[in-house]
Amino acid sequence: MKVDKSIRDWLLDVQKAKRITLEGNILKLLEADEDDEAFSKYIKDALEKDKEARRRRLDVTKQVQEQNKNLLASQEENERMNEELKAALNIAEEEKIKAEAAKAEAVIAKDAALNDLDIAQKRSQFELIGTIVRVALYVIIGVGFTTTAMYIVAIVTKSDTQIIGSTWSNMFGILLTNAFSIVGTIMGVKYASEKKE
């Protein structure tokens, strides 16, 4: 496309005075006369300038595009890590709840074990007391039988029964009193043992 002389002159004047040239694809349509070196140079320079500007803009745009891509990748990576962290936190929370439940169960088991131990200790104590009381009762009954037997032998052999009679009487009184006391103790121990179980 050829332009008329007035436009050509104006374009050259603007370039000379203000260093402004045409830009864009319109330059690709412009043609200069074969002998018009000045306008040919104008078109060539303007095209070079336009290409240089576009090349710079293309480089900058590509850089921005690359940065955007990296930012997006970082954002996706951050989101992925956040998701992983959330998942890890949820797992930790669940583990914490499980650990607390296990701790509560362990505390209950410990209390039960201590209780069982306490009962076992008390039972063995009561059993010991029971054994002592039983042995004491046998001793008392044995002494009672022995004294009574000696008194009967004294009566049958018509020996002097004054001393053995009063002894037997005192002994029997004491034994009866103690026997009731011991029976009472046995009953108490038995009652206490049954209640604990």
Partner: protein, 143 residues
């Protein structure tokens, strides 16, 4: 040189890259870039009645975010519904053979892989353009 190109891509930055690359490579004098397939459909509906301003070649992104149709569906609509006989293809960063087969079935004539260094691919495309225009070239992928 291609008379006019229409680019349908949701990435505004790529509009600038594509425009500058096309200008530097003397691919086209006129380039219109739009960011939705709905807009493209409206334009082609208008060009069905009046072909004035209709582009000679259309580059469509595969995934156009915020649009009713993806790139392949848009190509299918342009090829089979609006029948404007334009040279049309996909420009995308994707290199999925299944998608490429779908695009070809929908009427795409080429598939250009979008990357940082797009200029060599556009240069190759420029050389092949007449073949696409005359429908003598088969579907081609520019990697």
């Amino acid at each position: 040189m291609i008379d006019s190109i229409l680019l349908v891509d949701d990435e505004s930055l790529f509009h600038l890259v594509f425009e500058d690359a096309c200008s530097l490579l003397d691919i086209s004098l006129t380039l219109e870039a739009i960011n939705s397939s709905d807009h493209a459909v409206k334009l082609f509906e208008g060009w069905q009645k009046d072909s004035d301003g209709r582009p000679e070649c259309v580059f469509v992104d595969l995934n156009i975010i915020g649009s009713s149709y993806d790139g392949i569906e848009l190509i299918r609509k342009i090829t089979f519904e609006y029948g404007n006989n334009v040279v049309i293809g996909i420009i995308s960063s994707s290199n999925e053979p299944e998608e490429q087969a779908r695009a070809q079935k929908a009427g795409a004539q080429f598939w250009i892989i979008k990357s940082d260094d797009i200029e060599p691919r556009l240069e190759d495309f420029k050389k092949d353009f007449d073949g696409y225009k005359s429908k003598s070239l088969p579907f081609k992928i520019y990697k």
